[in-house]
Symmetry: C2
Subunit: 145 residues, 2 copies
DNA sequence: CCCATTAATTATCATTTGATAACTAAATGG
DNA sequence: CCATTTAGTTATCAAATGATAATTAATGGG
């Protein structure tokens, strides 16, 4: 198949993924935190404990801005900072109990929407979907560094 | 397989897709337009001609804000508005020649990065990738309305 | 023909986000 | 030890984005 067509297919696919993740996650975020703050919390939830630098790198937010947003999140008691014994410049960040509960709730609702989305798939189809996820993850959407 | 694990796999996958599209498109946008403006241009490029309402719906930007951004893009000569004979409230929007050239260039560069990303895949693997894209597109990342 | 709806515009305001400079403190490596 | 690098903070500013209200004009259904 033509490279042009292949690329076209990829673009359509990526657009669909973005749209579906938008649908799955819309109206999930509590009103008292901003979109960027919510995305930081999602990242912490999945990768905790993390350092400020990791958040900055992974979310593509500058250190000063990451520091600022994290300070707000800490003031809202959604996450906590812990000193690292080996390197006292660093801080490890975790969700607080409240923050964890909030994100559990959020993921639970998103998970429900996701299951609803695939509810019509048979067991064989689910197998097929999983293999497809593995293929694309390893051959197209891999991270290189 | 467990639903929890399945969902977990989905989350990881969606995250990878977002990260890879970020990598493919970073530093592509010209400096004289904002991120939102660029994303609007991408949408117009792929779907033209489109109405203002379509842009508003698909990009999840309110009508007033869509109108404002589109006005700026028109002033920069990147797109053009045409009246619709059948319904004089509507306007169809297309890229201007300059805008089209800009987006062609952008897509060309992104396409190059994409091809580089899959350059090590064999012909059979490319077939496999394509089938995987089709499977996921139809069974997971479909749009419903 | 009137009323409700749709499409788009303009103006305005608040908030969020991004960018930069200047700083402290700790580690690391010759 | 001293210089450099790393980790994070604070302050400040500008720009981008989001939200709302009020308006115009055209359409479409009873």
């Amino acid at each position: 198949m033509d490279q042009e067509v292949f690329f076209q297919k990829f673009v359509t696919f990526a657009t669909s993924v973005h749209e579906v993740t938008y649908e799955l996650t819309k109206d999930i975020k509590p009103n008292d935190i901003t979109p960027v703050q919510y995305s930081i919390l999602e990242y912490i939830a999945v990768s905790q404990p993390v350092t400020l630098s990791q958040i900055s790198d992974c979310k593509h937010i500058s250190m000063p801005n990451t520091s600022r947003e994290l300070k707000k999140l800490t003031e809202k008691n959604l996450c906590e900072k812990f000193d690292v014994a080996e390197d006292r410049r660093k801080q490890l960040i975790r969700l607080s109990e409240v923050g964890q509960a909030m994100m559990n709730e959020a993921f639970h609702r998103i998970g429900g929407r996701f299951l609803d989305r695939i509810k019509d798939a048979s067991a064989e189809e689910l197998e097929e979907i999983q293999r497809a996820l593995d293929v694309l993850q390893s051959k197209v959407f891999y991270g290189d560094k």
